[in-house]
């Protein structure tokens, strides 16, 4: 039997098949990103120490330490509360990073100041957000292809190369290129772009260790792509699950936070 199909119907079916195929691919790309998110951070609230070492032209320049309290909200975004532990000039300062609500508290002035998403990036505490961001919640992912790239330890990794476009108001970056190891879903590398398409940061995830109930990256190398002589190594140290009440994520709690 010969099944004759008219040309227009063929085109429509072809387009539908292509769209279906694209949707399937997009869904799987989103799932890859979501699986990788789960590798980086757990779903339960937790507390961890975070140490940042800044380098200028390869030389250690400064050191910051934080205690970070993090909790995922119902929509898959992390709410973060950080206190500076070091350097001594910043000890005791606190930052609330919660969706579109950002507050900075300085115990010297006992003042809480509201800051914008952009102003948050002027301080090191913003790295807390970079590390806990659930990319699947804020970005729409598509699969660019597969590549074999070196990880931070120069070991070859077969990766999915994903292209992420900001899909929510609170996405910090406009676009992210993301490499996730096939099979393990471990994040290997990310490239973060501004609204104007400028490459701002390159992040390598490394030192996968048992932490908060799974094997997760304990370190991220954050390279400033605007001034490539600048880089920051962030290390997530002592971590434990801890109840973090919703009441903590408001400005009036900031002066009351105790990290003991």
């Amino acid at each position: 039997m010969h099944f004759a199909m008219s040309r227009p119907i063929g085109i429509v079916l072809g387009v539908l098949l292509a769209v279906h195929g694209a949707l399937a691919l997009a869904q799987s790309a989103q799932e890859i990103v979501a699986a990788s998110d789960k590798i980086r951070n757990p779903e339960q609230p937790f507390r961890t120490t975070l140490t940042l070492t800044e380098y200028v032209s390869g030389q250690e320049r400064s050191h910051s330490g934080f205690v970070l309290f993090s909790k995922e909200d119902g929509s898959g975004h992390f709410r973060n509360l950080l206190q500076y532990v070091e350097p001594p000039r910043d000890a005791g300062k606190r930052v609330l990073l919660d969706g579109r609500s950002f507050w900075f508290f300085d115990p010297a002035s006992q003042a809480s100041v509201r800051i914008s998403a952009q102003q948050r990036l002027t301080g090191q505490a913003a790295i807390g957000d970079v590390l806990t961001v659930n990319l699947a919640a804020d970005y729409s992912a598509s699969l660019t292809g597969t590549e074999s790239i070196d990880d931070a330890a120069r070991q070859k990794r077969n990766c999915w190369h994903l292209d992420l476009k900001a899909a929510s108001e609170i996405a910090v970056y406009n676009r992210v290129e993301y490499w996730v190891e096939q099979g393990s879903f471990r994040p290997v590398k990310g490239k973060f772009y501004s609204d104007s398409g400028r490459l701002l940061k390159i992040i390598y995830y490394r030192n996968f260790v048992e932490r908060l109930g799974a094997v997760r990256p304990a370190e991220a190398v954050i390279i400033d792509a605007v001034d490539s002589s600048l880089a920051t190594i962030s290390v997530l140290g002592e971590s434990r699950f801890q109840d973090v009440p919703d009441a903590w994520f408001q400005r009036d709690y900031l002066p009351r936070l105790q990290v003991r």
Binding site: A91, R114, S116, A117, Q119, N207, V235
Partner: protein, 468 residues
């Protein structure tokens, strides 16, 4: 078929080339490969058994003084040089898992023109805070002692910051956003409940002594200056609620000497880079000149039946104070603040004209001149603008030109006469422990203007700070 093969080969080559490009990024990774065995917990140093911040600073200031003032400044003039070395500490000691005591203070060694050496004025101790805090139930707090209670969301002027009055002593900067860092707390008891998305605070500050005169005694030594912070009985009730994502308004009611003032403040993000904010307070008040006169009589600075040298002519009535503004941060880490300030008790243009007319041509020893400058000293102590309308602009550039260099500049402009108080500061964090700074400040304007009639024309401050 040949064409497909070529295309696939090209794509494969392109993929390899791209991956090779990616691998070049590895050259930007500093230091050695990670060492998992290394201890990476942040080190929080112990300060006398507690936690907090301790630093010493040396600040050398040189000031240029105007000598052509329309209304002469009664002696002594501001010192033309000052050398100040101080230790500054803010420490919390845990008493239990739900209780701690806190101390905050500054011990200064001062030498300045006209002060003399050695004498009691060379050493001063500012006891900013000392209090105990307990959390008997989760997120219910009770505090007692000298506490610095701060309210407000604006940068240049905080109408709802009711405990700011007379709390600043010997400032090293005129930047209003920094002035609150070195100010005295108030002896009080305070209770606070922090709910799921709301907070309620009640504070009571008793009157423990008579209010002290406006002028700060340079020979005060270790005097805790209770007369500046607890010369009257005061109550504060404030409540805030999380109404939506990030919308967190605060309402305040403040009582002092039988008078209520109400206040509100709110700050909201607009887009990625902007925050807008509004702060208001209002209550029955005298004009600033009448307030100063009443205070001078209360403190015995002038006899209770002495006539006023200057009156604004306004009776007690409902007056508002407002600060409304916005901040904007650029991708290059510069944050700009632009604010409009309104002080319903402040001087109008005609008040200024009469102030100058009352004092012009008189000698600096004249009681009228002293009275006129007393009003301005009183207003400065209140941490409120003397003028009715002003515009505040501030820029803060983090990592300016080089990492860890912070440049800050502000201008406070009297909208009535265009005169300006300004300041430019550069602060360089050379290491995690050492900072170096230079600060230039001044006032500009005609002789017949608010800021142009102040005795200090310009000053330069050099400072070195060591943190521990």
């Amino acid at each position: 078929m040949k064409g497909w093969g070529l295309a696939l080969a090209t794509l494969a080559f392109a993929g390899m080339a791209l991956a090779a490009d990616e691998d070049k990024d590895l050259d930007l990774i500093p230091g050695q490969p990670s060492r998992p065995e290394k201890s990476d917990a942040p080190k929080s140093g112990s300060l006398f058994g507690g936690e907090g911040r301790l630093f010493v600073e040396n600040a050398l200031t040189s000031t240029a003084v105007r000598n052509d003032l329309l209304v002469p400044f009664p002696p002594p003039l501001p010192p033309r040089w000052e050398e100040r070395f101080f230790g500054d500490a803010r420490i919390e000691w845990p008493l239990a898992s739900n209780a701690h005591v806190a101390y905050s203070g500054r011990l200064s060694f001062v030498a300045q023109e006209g002060l003399g050496f050695p004498n009691r004025g060379n050493v001063t101790n500012d006891l900013r805070e000392v209090y105990a805090s307990i959390e008997p139930q989760p997120r219910n707090y009770f505090d007692a002692g000298r506490i610095n209670v701060k309210s407000g969301v604006a940068l240049g002027f905080n109408p709802t910051d009711f405990f700011k009055t007379r709390a600043v002593v010997d400032p090293l900067t005129t930047d209003p956003s920094v002035l609150r860092e070195d100010r005295l707390g108030t002896l009080m008891i305070r209770g606070q409940h922090v709910g799921e998305a709301s907070s309620l605070t009640v504070a009571y500050a008793p009157r423990v002594t008579n209010p002290s005169p406006v002028a700060v005694d340079p020979y005060r030594g270790f005097n805790p200056l209770w007369g500046r912070t607890n010369g009257t009985e005061r109550w504060l009730v404030k409540a805030s609620a999380q109404l939506g994502e990030g919308v967190n308004p605060e309402l305040l009611a403040y009582w002092e000497s039988g008078k209520w003032q109400l206040g509100a403040n709110i700050a909201e993000s607009v887009g990625q880079s902007t925050v807008v904010y509004l702060e208001w307070s209002g209550g029955r008040q005298l004009g600033i000149a009448e307030q100063a006169l009443a205070f001078a009589r209360t403190t015995g600075t002038i006899p209770s039946d002495a006539p006023s040298v200057f009156m604004q002519g306004n009776n007690e009535r409902f007056r508002s104070q407002v600060a409304v503004g916005a901040s904007y941060t650029t991708e290059s880490k510069i944050t700009f603040n632009l604010e409009y300030h309104y002080n319903g008790a402040g001087f109008s243009r005609s008040d200024w004209d009469r102030w100058f007319a009352a004092g012009e041509g008189r000698p600096d020893s004249s009681p009228i001149v002293r009275g006129l400058w007393y009003i301005r000293d009183y207003a400065a102590g209140q941490q409120e603008p003397m003028q009715r309308n002003s515009v505040f602009v501030r820029a803060d550039w983090v990592d300016a030109f080089v990492p860890k260099l912070e440049l800050t500049a502000f201008a406070l402009v009297d909208a009535g006469d265009g005169s300006t108080r300004w300041q430019v500061e550069a602060d360089y964090a050379k290491t995690d422990l050492w900072s170096f700074g230079v600060l230039a400040a001044g006032t500009t304007g005609g002789r017949h203007s608010n800021y142009g009639s102040l005795p200090s024309e310009a000053s330069v401050l050099l400072k070195v700070t060591r943190y521990f």
